[in-house]
Subunit: 215 residues, 4 copies
């Protein structure tokens, strides 16, 4: 039976929660567009995050994989366009490992583009009154690592499954500790994820509308 | 019977809604700390906004008046500290009037400080997981005009009622049209207003904690 | 002989320099519009800053007093519109004193408006290619304290001298330690101050153009 | 004789100048670390910008190529890490062409990493008091197009020359028309480019220090 795998990440950088897991776990077991949604949590650890992700993919054989992470300071749901083949950690991960300018996959391609319909996702979210935009960088930390690893794995396996990465803002209860930082409520984010899953399932050809950046 | 007057403002600057009215109207008729909450909408018009505000105060004789307005671009609930005696409109108001450097009240004092417990409000909101901060400026447009007019009226009347002004972010459905802008959901904002009313009713002496700005 | 008093402030908040003093000291002794410019440094200390400012005013009897301070994080030269009668220090001053919600002058008016031609200053700076804007708040720390104290002193003395406050960005060498923060070069800031002094001397009636904020 | 090719871009997006050309043209003909610097202007046009860049490379056979562009809104000199194989234009280029999600090079790799010592450049600039940081995205417009095209060309030709892209802020005279936007003076930017050229020539192995982003 067709399934969607969605993942959140453990808390990191001193946070007690990670909005990605708080949100995606609420969708575990629901059906969207006749497709079972399965939610898994990944550790905020280089390497181990991919081990756990690959296990879940091998086990579930999903037709769609959407990984989600926290982007503290961003105000919108951001749909990542591309992941690059580099780990450059500003802070150590949850196992204390801090790689600097190390490729994720030796001899891997320099980048992978999301295979989600990124423009249609932004349009769908905005149609539902949820602020969203395409992001041109997923950073160089565990989130980018997961996105790159996911797309490399699907490619290498010749899998027809599509995949990508979504960054979400702090929850309000986190932003309280970051004065001035934007936030988004869990209920808005759950609606956002439902829409993202539905649009991803039903949109095989992306919209041709600009979501570019001049720099 | 004791009542609280809360006000929102009409949409302006091309918006179809104003979050302040969308939020405060949901509290019309509820009781908080044994006090009836009455919500009124004010026009986004210099002068007329105060006419309507003063009528409501004369009619209801509230013990507390909390005016609310939209601060598009701010990420938090912001508790205004002070209103200044100047109208300097960047854009015309809803009747097409655009005063520049005109006092709100000829011969009025240069400013009025909020008589709400502004530090306790920030603390109370943060305790409930709602991002909030003290703001040192309410601008020079209709919101500042309302706050100054309110505090001048209460003072002139010798009213024991306390009053102040709260700026709130865009709702998510507004932020969709302002790429990159932060937002806050209506449900979070309704909870914020309930807390603000409750803390204002029960806190007669403000906390002595800093919420200042170096500039 | 007519003179202009300009002041900068000592470094604070862990900085080794304060751009306000680095800039204004370069103008000490020059003549602008036939007026001698005298530069003085004020301590970053509540109270003592005003003692030293008042001594300089009594000694020099300037026709114009322009106080300058650092606004780390702002990108433009900002011309302050108003100072409010409150000290609310987010961090202790250089003598370790941290007042919270204490009036600057007991029984003083709630605020003073700048008596500089703030709109003409912004226009003059922009005409010279220098980013500038009117600011609606000088904060609640030593800068606001100095601006309020200055205007209160001139008023109380019945002095015809005009006065106000200018906030300037970090210098580039400071911004290096605040990743992402904007800065402005000392040479641009010296030109800005020359223009501010010249326009202030020659402009007795301000322009009627909007420089307001909706919040 | 060894030479360095540096390029700026024509004005675009309604600007009358482009800081990249205003700055790099001042270095045309100077010698840095015994190497002749040659400055060329590229059109803000997809395709034609690369034609002109490739001609200059073929003509000069430089050992180093540093392309520079405007990043209106950024506060620091930003050293780009990576260029991606996509054109997604938010606005038309100067010939009216607006590609959306079109690869720069059909069948080209998804991305190229800068071959400049990006961490050493940031460190060198900061040592000289010039705000700088590594950027994880050069956007999806003409700047990214030039960076990708440059690195693809050098690779395809088997050239030993190194290359990369630098984004710089608005000049102050531009920021005047973008209220609130940060800027950097031309004299600071010329010093920055001299340092970037010198460090690039003399640093063959980059520093191992983090300049990553968590998102």
């Amino acid at each position: 039976m067709a399934s969607v795998l969605i993942t959140g990440i453990e808390p990191f950088d001193g946070e007690h929660i990670n909005p990605s897991w708080e949100v995606v776990r609420q969708l575990n077991g629901v059906y969207i567009a006749n497709t079972l949604v399965v939610a898994r949590q990944l550790p905020c650890e280089f390497g181990h995050a991919l081990d756990k992700l690959y296990q879940a993919i091998d086990e579930l054989e999903p037709t769609l994989v959407i990984c989600v992470g926290q982007a503290g300071g961003r105000a919108e749901v951001s749909i990542e366009r591309v992941a690059i083949n580099i780990n450059d950690a500003r802070i150590p991960d949850n196992q204390g490992y801090q790689p600097i300018d190390v490729p994720i996959i030796e001899q891997g391609p320099a980048a992978y583009f999301s295979t989600l319909p990124i423009k249609a996702l932004v349009q769908g979210l905005r149609d539902d009154g949820i602020p969203a935009s395409v992001s041109q960088t997923a950073g160089t930390y565990v989130c980018n690592h997961i996105m790159y690893g996911l797309l490399h794995h699907l490619k290498k396996q010749g899998s027809p499954a599509r995949g990508g990465f979504i960054h979400i803002p702090y929850l309000p209860e986190q932003a309280v500790n970051h004065p001035g930082a934007p936030s988004m409520s869990a209920s808005t984010l759950v609606k956002a994820m439902e829409k993202i899953i539905a649009v991803s399932i039903t949109t095989l050809k992306d919209l041709v509308v600009s979501a570019g950046a001049t720099h």
